[in-house]
């Protein structure tokens, strides 16, 4: 297991370099003067230009720029915005908000999606099964921004059950509806995958064996059936967590959450190249690590996957 982990971590290095270089190259190679429009109508003063050019090696080739950027990055220096603000500071203030929202969304996906999937998988073609099939299809078919605006308007404006936007304190109670919106589509997929998986394994020989051993139904379903059926669901949830941690531009926008998704969108619009690269580098790293965690979890759930 240790050797496997080391190998997988080493594999992450070329992926990390490749993806970050692509991003860096795309962002800084946008045609035109990087200083255009940065300092109002008069244009930027020469000493400021010189300072930023020096800082980001703008008169060198893209390779040199990237190399010196990565060198700074590895020492924890994300650089500064054109306005002079520390980029690490921007990430540090907005990323926790995204993480909170992601955790709430994932919890909703796991609890509601898995619960609905298990219940309907055990009892197919009943009322509940049809209800879940129709409502999940509904969620999958609707774009997230529609679900978001409808819930915000209904619950927040018309009925006044929630505050329409999330405050800066980011209380968990405020995050339930945004979390539901963010997780809705994946929740629907989790429910469907869990349903199919449970229904498939329900008739498996080992389930029959467990019944023949005289185990209580609770244990047959909760231990023997569930553990096998969870494997595809965990894969789905794991990859989704990686995506959730990448920030949610739409959901964060609707509910006014100051998260990483909004931050990266703002940086792209204002051509804050260094900020875009800095944030994306963090997101790539998080995504790669999440992927690794899912693979390890997968092995823990299914011993037939050998890692030696």
């Amino acid at each position: 297991m240790g050797r496997y982990l080391l190998r997988r971590l080493l594999q992450l290095v070329p992926v990390f370099i490749g993806t970050t270089f692509l991003i860096y190259w795309l962002v800084w190679s946008v045609p035109g003067d990087p200083f255009a429009g940065k300092c109002g109508d008069r244009g930027c003063p020469p000493n400021y230009r010189a300072m930023m050019t020096e800082k980001y090696n703008l008169d060198e080739s893209i390779w040199v720029q990237y190399a010196s950027y990565m060198k700074n990055l590895l020492q924890g220096d994300f650089g500064i915005t054109f306005g002079g603000r520390e980029i690490s500071d921007i990430i540090a203030t907005s990323y926790p908000n995204t993480l909170k929202l992601a955790v709430v969304a994932l919890a909703i996906e796991a609890v509601i999606g898995l619960g609905a999937g298990i219940l309907t998988g055990l009892r197919r073609n009943g009322f509940l099964d049809n209800l879940v099939l129709v409502s999940t299809l509904f969620l999958i078919a609707l774009p997230v921004f529609v679900i978001g605006f409808v819930l915000q308007w209904l619950l927040g404006v018309k009925w006044g059950i929630i505050t329409p936007t999330v405050s800066n304190e980011m209380r968990f109670s405020e995050l339930i509806v945004p979390g539901f919106v963010l997780g809705s589509v994946s929740m629907a997929y989790v429910a469907r995958v869990a349903r199919t998986s449970i229904a498939e394994n329900r008739r498996a020989d080992y389930v029959r064996t467990a019944i023949a051993k005289g185990l209580p139904m609770r244990r047959v379903v909760g231990v023997h059936l569930l553990r096998n059926s969870l494997i595809p669901v965990v894969t789905l949830l794991g990859t989704d967590l990686g995506a959730l941690m990448g920030g949610a531009i739409v959901t964060e926008g609707i509910f006014g959450i100051n998260g990483i998704g909004r931050q990266v969108l703002r940086s792209i619009v204002t051509k804050e190249s260094a900020t875009v690269v800095g944030i994306v580098v963090v997101l790539v790293l998080v995504y790669l690590i999440m992927n690794l965690v899912v693979d390890l979890l997968y092995a823990a759930l299914d011993p037939r996957i050998r890692y030696e």
């Binding site: 023949a212 051993k213 005289g214 185990l215 553990r227 037939r304």
Partner: protein, 342 residues
């Protein structure tokens, strides 16, 4: 349809001192294409310390009978439409699910054919054995582990302690079937149902597993129902044989009697189709034709389309399971002639 004289057919739990009795059992499978009558009045019993072999082709209903006894029949499509399954004289089919559950494992246990799919792939073999001690006997984890290792030892798995934490896919076929036997015997059942326990194994391993089963059955004085389609497997182990065809018992006899002088043309056909060394090079003898479609069982004796002895009466009347004395019974109109021939 049933002319079998069933002991205690009236009875809601009248005890006849038998350990396990299947009494005029009827099961049908309701599918989209129609109703298949899979079990059509099966009656057999097994007592403590004896082994009953249930013999038949695939589709004869031998496994479905076993599943009905265990209460693991897939419903739907399978439905019990009549008869009783009595354990210590009490009909299990009318018991509450909880009462039935308590009998499983402790009263009646079962070994399945394909141990790779019958064991849960994501738990260790040891866990799956120890689980029964923990859940059914309320033992602590460490006590249960100790007992599970003892069980693995009893079925002669080398290095039982080390194998405890192996997963099913890390066992060979024979060892896995041994583990399966250990699991089924964990709660010391009174009846063991072995559903084709050696079919998925190599021939050399088959004999070892059969020997082990026979040995454990004698040691523990269990009643054993050995389900098989292989006449060669049963000869050494079984006391009595019940031959099934199209969901009915067509012949029942002591092993010796049955091999010496079968009282049903189907049994005769089965015995004749065993390849023999002294007939090397000759064409194998088979029973012509195919087993009947259970959605459309022929009128009269179900075996009549394939029977070399068929007479007009066989096309009209279902032959009852006639008692021939000495515990022999045959469901053939000409059973007496078959037994009395030279």
């Amino acid at each position: 349809m049933s002319e079998q004289s069933a002991p205690g057919a009236d009875g809601s739990g009248r005890s006849s001192g038998r350990l396990l009795e299947v009494d005029d059992l009827r099961v049908e499978f309701r599918t989209r294409d129609g109703v298949a009558k899979v079990i059509n009045g099966v009656t057999y019993h097994v007592d403590a310390g004896e082994t009953l072999a249930v013999l038949g082709e695939s589709g004869s209903g031998k496994s479905v009978t076993a599943q009905t006894i265990m209460g693991i029949l897939d419903t739907p499509p399978g439905f019990v439409t009549g008869g009783q399954v009595r354990f210590h004289g009490k009909d299990m089919l009318t018991m509450s699910p909880e009462q039935r559950r308590r009998i499983r494992g402790e009263g009646i246990a079962m070994i399945f054919q394909d141990s790779l799919s019958a064991l849960n792939p994501v738990f260790t073999v040891g866990f799956q054995i120890a689980e029964q001690f923990r859940i059914r006997r309320g033992m602590s984890r460490s006590d249960a582990k100790k007992r599970a290792i003892e069980m693995l030892d009893q079925v002669k798995i080398p290095n039982a302690k080390g194998r405890f934490s192996n997963y099913p896919h890390q066992f060979s076929g024979g060892m896995r079937q041994r583990a399966m036997i250990a699991m089924s015997l964990a709660l010391d059942p009174e009846v063991l149902i072995a559903d084709e326990p050696t079919t998925a194994l190599d021939v050399t391993v088959q004999a070892q597993i059969m020997d082990l089963l026979g040995e454990l059955q004698r040691e523990r004085q269990m009643g054993m129902i050995l389900i098989t389609h292989d006449l060669g497997v049963v000869a050494d182990v079984a006391d009595r044989i019940a031959v099934m065809y199209a969901g009915r018992i067509v012949e029942e006899a002591d092993v010796y009697d049955l091999y010496r002088k079968p009282a049903h043309p189907y049994t005769l056909g089965l015995l004749n189709s065993i390849p023999r060394m002294d007939e090397k090079g000759q064409e194998l003898r088979t029973i012509k034709g195919l087993p009947p479609n259970l959605m459309n069982i022929p009128p009269g004796c179900a075996f009549n389309p394939r029977c070399p002895m068929a007479q007009p009466v066989c096309l009209e009347k279902v032959p009852p399971l006639l008692q021939l004395g000495n515990g022999r019974a045959s469901a053939c109109h000409f059973a007496e002639e078959l037994v009395n021939r030279d």
